[in-house]
Symmetry: C2
């Protein structure tokens, strides 16, 4: 802990900010703790409004040399990756010389999402940065085991959760995605590149009559937690309710819950369960 | 073959007709061969226009007793299952006593699509019907190995095909679906209950810049070919082209190609490859 404190004191925390609510949460948490930050905002991903009050610069994902220069110019020693990144095609990436060098080393095509993120973290560490997980900066956000709000899954929902967890784990092992929607034993949808929100939106039109389905979200086997943990938040609950689901089950311990109070309030109001599970 | 001829002569061929173009193809093939048919058209699935000129009756999927009565009243001894069926929820199924009895025996929830279809075929055989595959009634429609039209996949597309085949096989082993779309090494989408056409439509908005993706469709391991073979047709090619894909790879031998000439014409015109592969 003493070493951490020294590193922390050596400069602002660098935040590489992708999409979603996580970067804002990290910024707020640092502000509350009196920690300086420098945000490297990824173009097309980061939320502009979340960055207005803090030192930041925008950067293309493919501009690795620029990114490293910006981080060093702002005396960043410790880094956190926060938020989602829609993985671009190699053509859209337009890698600069630094990114091209990294890509040549790691092999872009051969890697799934998780493999690529692990490699990026390794490169950042090779460049001398210390990469920490967003969860180390936040408190009370890992999903506990059991129901989070008032609603509990019934035995039918439990069966869908068990089936979903098995399938989601297999999907994760293939590095395709983290989430599936299961209704009455059938897999309505599997998350791939569209993300969990996209999966939930399309499941609105795929649902069958009768008791609604369940979103099941789990960590990929061997997932790099510093870069890409399962996340649920108020938006997840709202979309699940809009799509006629009965609830959300996510991996306890591994899943970050953004704005837990609002998640519970929305879920209780909509009659949805939100439950932490231990997948097989 | 003599036994086949006897059975064939004993009454009209029963066609349980789901969605898509396959029922029409089977009807046309029987007409060309001078074989009488009786079509049991599944409500909400079968194409009304395809049935206008042949003896037929409509039936709910859950009305098994009615279905069996209709088949027997029309002297059907030999049956073919043709076309797609969107598996209903148990609530929407509204099983009659016969369907309820069958469901109680096989256990609805425990089965994936393929398991359910196998069980339905077993029940039909138990009731004394001979169930044959649609491919036995049609000619020249199994996808051969190699390219079907003028266009061939380049090495990048070959890499996407290989990755897609591996993933699709795994998705099939989980009884989730038969198809995936892969672009530049990433799984853009996985087919579940929405079907291949639904998968292709949503991949239009998920595609990345650069060379387009590939639809890969394979048989599920141990799939019941008499009920549910992979199918591609002109609609598949049109949707693939609309979604910016570069081509279609499907399992050689196992995949039915509907209207092969039109498939080749559309694919060549759009610059898409259609290729038969042998997945791992």
């Amino acid at each position: 802990m003493a070493a951490d404190a020294e590193l922390s004191a050596s400069g602002p925390l660098g935040i590489i900010a992708g999409s979603g609510g996580l970067p804002r949460r990290v910024i707020e948490s640092c502000r509350a703790a009196g920690r300086e930050v420098f945000v490297l905002a990824l173009e097309g991903e980061a939320d502009r409004a979340a960055l207005e009050t803090v030192p930041h610069a925008w950067c293309r994902i493919g501009a690795a040399a620029t990114a490293l220069d910006l981080l060093r110019a702002n005396a960043v020693g410790e880094l956190v990756l926060a938020g989602g990144v829609r993985r671009p095609s190699l053509a859209a990436l337009r890698p600069d010389w630094q990114a091209a060098k990294i890509l040549a080393r790691i092999g872009y095509r051969a890697l799934g999402d998780d493999g690529l993120l692990k490699a990026v973290i390794k490169e950042l560490e090779r460049e001398g940065f210390r990469v920490i997980g967003a969860d180390q900066l936040l408190t009370e956000i890992a999903l506990p085991e059991g129901p989070l709000g008032q609603v509990q899954p019934d035995p039918d929902a439990e069966a869908d959760i068990a089936h979903g967890a098995r399938v989601a784990r297999a999907i994760g092992a293939l590095d395709i995605g983290q989430a599936v929607v299961v209704q009455q034993g059938f897999v309505l949808g599997v998350e791939a590149i569209e993300g969990t929100d996209g999966l939930l939106r399309r499941c609105a039109s795929l649902r069958r009559d009768g008791p609604g389905g369940v979103l099941v979200k789990v960590e990929k086997p061997g997932q790099e937690r510093r870069a890409d943990r399962p996340v649920i938040g108020p938006q997840t609950v709202s979309l699940a309710a809009d799509s006629g689901l009965r609830g959300i089950a996510a991996e306890a311990g591994a899943t970050l819950v953004l704005d837990r109070d609002e998640v519970v309030r929305l879920a209780d109001a909509a009659g949805l369960f939100v439950v932490g599970i231990h997948p097989p």
